[in-house]
Protein backbone atom coordinates (compact mmCIF):
# COMPACT_ATOMS: atom_id res chain seq x y z
CA UNK A 1 0.00 0.00 0.00
CA UNK A 2 1.93 3.04 -1.25
CA UNK A 3 0.97 6.55 -0.24
CA UNK A 4 1.64 9.87 -1.97
CA UNK A 5 2.26 12.37 0.82
CA UNK A 6 1.36 15.86 -0.37
CA UNK A 7 2.71 18.72 1.76
CA UNK A 8 1.83 22.38 1.13
CA UNK A 9 3.30 24.17 4.17
CA UNK A 10 6.61 25.96 4.37
CA UNK A 11 8.95 24.09 6.75
CA UNK A 12 9.67 27.54 8.24
CA UNK A 13 5.98 27.88 9.16
CA UNK A 14 4.94 24.44 10.36
CA UNK A 15 6.42 20.99 10.84
CA UNK A 16 4.29 19.20 8.20
CA UNK A 17 7.24 18.26 5.97
CA UNK A 18 9.11 16.70 8.90
CA UNK A 19 5.96 14.95 10.09
CA UNK A 20 5.22 13.52 6.67
CA UNK A 21 8.82 12.28 6.35
CA UNK A 22 8.55 10.60 9.76
CA UNK A 23 5.39 8.80 8.72
CA UNK A 24 6.64 7.69 5.32
CA UNK A 25 7.28 4.02 4.68
CA UNK A 26 9.22 2.26 1.94
CA UNK A 27 7.54 2.80 -1.39
CA UNK A 28 5.86 6.05 -0.34
CA UNK A 29 6.46 9.29 -2.21
CA UNK A 30 6.80 12.87 -0.97
CA UNK A 31 5.41 15.69 -3.10
CA UNK A 32 6.06 19.30 -2.08
CA UNK A 33 3.61 21.89 -3.40
CA UNK A 34 2.69 25.51 -2.63
CA UNK A 35 4.84 26.92 0.24
CA UNK A 36 6.39 23.49 0.93
CA UNK A 37 8.65 24.07 -2.08
CA UNK A 38 10.78 26.33 0.17
CA UNK A 39 12.12 23.09 1.69
CA UNK A 40 14.44 22.50 -1.27
CA UNK A 41 16.17 25.90 -1.13
CA UNK A 42 19.94 25.57 -1.09
CA UNK A 43 21.47 26.74 2.19
CA UNK A 44 18.10 26.68 3.92
CA UNK A 45 18.03 25.29 7.43
CA UNK A 46 15.06 23.10 6.53
CA UNK A 47 16.72 21.33 3.59
CA UNK A 48 18.18 18.69 5.90
CA UNK A 49 14.64 17.50 6.79
CA UNK A 50 14.46 15.68 3.49
CA UNK A 51 18.04 14.31 3.61
CA UNK A 52 18.11 10.83 2.14
CA UNK A 53 14.52 11.19 1.05
CA UNK A 54 13.48 11.29 -2.57
CA UNK A 55 11.66 14.61 -2.86
CA UNK A 56 9.50 15.67 -5.76
CA UNK A 57 8.58 19.33 -6.14
CA UNK A 58 5.86 21.05 -8.16
CA UNK A 59 7.58 23.22 -10.78
CA UNK A 60 4.93 25.95 -11.20
CA UNK A 61 5.00 26.59 -7.44
CA UNK A 62 8.82 26.85 -7.51
CA UNK A 63 8.59 29.35 -10.37
CA UNK A 64 5.89 31.36 -8.60
CA UNK A 65 8.28 31.77 -5.65
CA UNK A 66 11.34 32.58 -7.72
CA UNK A 67 13.27 29.45 -6.80
CA UNK A 68 15.45 28.75 -9.82
CA UNK A 69 17.12 25.40 -10.48
CA UNK A 70 20.54 26.64 -9.31
CA UNK A 71 18.99 27.69 -5.98
CA UNK A 72 17.79 24.16 -5.27
CA UNK A 73 19.50 21.37 -3.35
CA UNK A 74 20.75 18.41 -5.42
CA UNK A 75 18.68 15.37 -6.23
CA UNK A 76 15.29 17.02 -6.39
CA UNK A 77 12.86 15.96 -9.08
CA UNK A 78 10.61 18.67 -10.54
CA UNK A 79 7.19 17.84 -12.00
CA UNK A 80 4.40 19.87 -13.58
CA UNK A 81 0.68 19.35 -12.87
CA UNK A 82 0.55 16.47 -15.36
CA UNK A 83 3.38 14.86 -13.36
CA UNK A 84 1.38 15.49 -10.17
CA UNK A 85 -1.50 13.53 -11.71
CA UNK A 86 0.89 10.69 -12.65
CA UNK A 87 2.17 10.54 -9.06
CA UNK A 88 -1.41 10.28 -7.75
CA UNK A 89 -2.03 7.43 -10.17
CA UNK A 90 1.21 5.65 -9.25
CA UNK A 91 0.36 5.52 -5.52
CA UNK A 92 -2.49 3.57 -3.95
CA UNK A 93 -3.76 6.59 -2.03
CA UNK A 94 -2.92 10.19 -1.24
CA UNK A 95 -2.46 11.99 2.07
CA UNK A 96 -2.55 15.78 2.14
CA UNK A 97 -0.74 17.06 5.24
CA UNK A 98 -2.92 20.13 5.76
Amino acid sequence: MSILHIVNKSPYERNSVALAVDYMRDGDTLLLIEDAVYTVMQGGKAASIIDGQKAIVLGPDLAARGIAKEKMIDGVEVVDYAGFVDLVEASDKTQSWL
Binding site: Y81, F84, D86, L98
Partner: protein
Protein backbone atom coordinates in the same frame (compact mmCIF):
# COMPACT_ATOMS: atom_id res chain seq x y z
CA UNK B 1 -8.30 6.63 -13.19
CA UNK B 2 -11.40 8.01 -11.52
CA UNK B 3 -10.78 10.96 -9.18
CA UNK B 4 -12.62 13.01 -6.61
CA UNK B 5 -11.09 16.36 -5.67
CA UNK B 6 -11.87 18.12 -2.39
CA UNK B 7 -11.39 21.89 -1.97
CA UNK B 8 -11.42 23.31 1.56
CA UNK B 9 -10.45 26.94 1.00
CA UNK B 10 -12.05 29.91 -0.73
CA UNK B 11 -10.66 31.80 -3.72
CA UNK B 12 -7.96 34.49 -3.36
CA UNK B 13 -7.38 33.75 0.34
CA UNK B 14 -5.32 30.62 -0.20
CA UNK B 15 -3.73 28.78 -3.10
CA UNK B 16 -5.81 25.63 -2.53
CA UNK B 17 -8.48 26.42 -5.11
CA UNK B 18 -5.85 27.34 -7.72
CA UNK B 19 -3.89 24.15 -7.06
CA UNK B 20 -7.07 22.06 -7.21
CA UNK B 21 -8.11 23.72 -10.47
CA UNK B 22 -4.76 23.15 -12.19
CA UNK B 23 -4.65 19.56 -10.91
CA UNK B 24 -8.20 18.85 -12.12
CA UNK B 25 -7.48 20.41 -15.52
CA UNK B 26 -4.29 18.37 -15.92
CA UNK B 27 -6.11 15.16 -14.96
CA UNK B 28 -8.82 15.83 -17.56
CA UNK B 29 -6.20 16.60 -20.20
CA UNK B 30 -4.58 13.25 -19.48
CA UNK B 31 -7.90 11.52 -20.07
CA UNK B 32 -8.76 10.73 -16.46
CA UNK B 33 -12.32 10.94 -15.16
CA UNK B 34 -13.22 13.51 -12.52
CA UNK B 35 -16.07 11.86 -10.65
CA UNK B 36 -16.72 14.95 -8.55
CA UNK B 37 -15.20 18.13 -7.12
CA UNK B 38 -16.44 18.69 -3.59
CA UNK B 39 -16.24 22.15 -2.01
CA UNK B 40 -16.18 22.06 1.76
CA UNK B 41 -15.65 24.58 4.60
CA UNK B 42 -14.56 27.97 3.14
CA UNK B 43 -14.22 26.17 -0.19
CA UNK B 44 -17.93 26.82 -0.77
CA UNK B 45 -16.98 30.45 -1.52
CA UNK B 46 -15.66 29.21 -4.87
CA UNK B 47 -19.30 28.86 -5.92
CA UNK B 48 -20.70 32.41 -5.83
CA UNK B 49 -21.30 34.01 -9.22
CA UNK B 50 -21.30 37.50 -7.64
CA UNK B 51 -17.52 37.84 -7.44
CA UNK B 52 -15.95 40.50 -9.67
CA UNK B 53 -12.16 40.20 -9.57
CA UNK B 54 -10.09 42.82 -11.45
CA UNK B 55 -9.96 42.15 -15.18
CA UNK B 56 -6.23 41.48 -15.15
CA UNK B 57 -6.59 38.85 -12.42
CA UNK B 58 -7.75 35.27 -12.87
CA UNK B 59 -11.45 34.70 -12.23
CA UNK B 60 -11.35 31.66 -9.96
CA UNK B 61 -15.12 31.13 -9.88
CA UNK B 62 -15.68 31.56 -13.62
CA UNK B 63 -12.73 29.27 -14.31
CA UNK B 64 -14.39 26.45 -12.37
CA UNK B 65 -17.71 27.10 -14.14
CA UNK B 66 -16.03 27.00 -17.55
CA UNK B 67 -14.14 23.80 -16.75
CA UNK B 68 -17.39 22.23 -15.55
CA UNK B 69 -19.28 23.21 -18.68
CA UNK B 70 -16.57 21.98 -21.00
CA UNK B 71 -16.10 18.64 -19.23
CA UNK B 72 -19.52 18.06 -17.70
CA UNK B 73 -18.05 18.20 -14.18
CA UNK B 74 -20.05 17.65 -11.02
CA UNK B 75 -19.14 20.61 -8.76
CA UNK B 76 -20.79 20.01 -5.39
CA UNK B 77 -21.01 22.52 -2.56
CA UNK B 78 -21.56 21.27 0.99
CA UNK B 79 -24.98 22.44 2.13
CA UNK B 80 -24.17 23.06 5.80
CA UNK B 81 -21.01 24.99 4.93
CA UNK B 82 -22.97 26.93 2.28
CA UNK B 83 -25.74 27.91 4.68
CA UNK B 84 -23.21 29.31 7.13
CA UNK B 85 -21.53 31.37 4.43
CA UNK B 86 -24.50 32.50 2.37
CA UNK B 87 -24.08 30.43 -0.78
CA UNK B 88 -27.64 30.02 -2.02
CA UNK B 89 -29.39 28.25 -4.89
CA UNK B 90 -33.11 28.37 -5.61
CA UNK B 91 -33.99 25.42 -3.40
CA UNK B 92 -32.03 26.84 -0.47
CA UNK B 93 -33.53 30.32 -0.97
CA UNK B 94 -37.00 28.87 -0.82
CA UNK B 95 -36.27 26.60 2.15
CA UNK B 96 -34.60 29.31 4.21
CA UNK B 97 -36.68 32.29 3.13
CA UNK B 98 -33.87 34.17 1.35
CA UNK B 99 -34.56 36.92 -1.19
CA UNK B 100 -31.76 36.04 -3.62
CA UNK B 101 -29.52 33.31 -4.98
CA UNK B 102 -25.83 33.54 -5.85
CA UNK B 103 -24.74 30.08 -6.94
CA UNK B 104 -22.44 30.07 -9.96
CA UNK B 105 -23.16 28.07 -13.14
CA UNK B 106 -22.09 24.44 -12.96
CA UNK B 107 -22.24 24.24 -9.15
CA UNK B 108 -24.91 22.49 -7.10
CA UNK B 109 -25.57 22.35 -3.37
CA UNK B 110 -25.80 18.95 -1.72
CA UNK B 111 -24.77 17.03 1.38
CA UNK B 112 -21.62 15.57 2.82
CA UNK B 113 -22.76 12.17 1.59
CA UNK B 114 -21.62 13.30 -1.85
CA UNK B 115 -18.05 13.53 -0.56
CA UNK B 116 -18.24 10.06 0.98
CA UNK B 117 -19.68 8.67 -2.24
CA UNK B 118 -16.87 10.38 -4.16
CA UNK B 119 -14.34 8.68 -1.91
CA UNK B 120 -15.95 5.29 -2.39
CA UNK B 121 -16.61 5.53 -6.12
CA UNK B 122 -13.25 7.02 -7.09
CA UNK B 123 -9.83 5.40 -7.33
CA UNK B 124 -8.26 8.38 -5.54
CA UNK B 125 -9.40 11.28 -3.38
CA UNK B 126 -7.09 14.30 -3.49
CA UNK B 127 -7.59 17.04 -0.90
CA UNK B 128 -6.56 20.69 -1.28
CA UNK B 129 -6.75 23.08 1.66
CA UNK B 130 -4.85 25.12 4.21
Amino acid sequence: MKLTVQVNEGPYQHQASDSAYHFTKAALEKGHEIFRVFFYHDGVNNGTRLTTPPQDDRNVVARWSELAEKNDLDLVICVAAAQRRGIVDEGEAERNGKDATNIAPGFRISGLGQLIEGGIQSDRLVVFGD
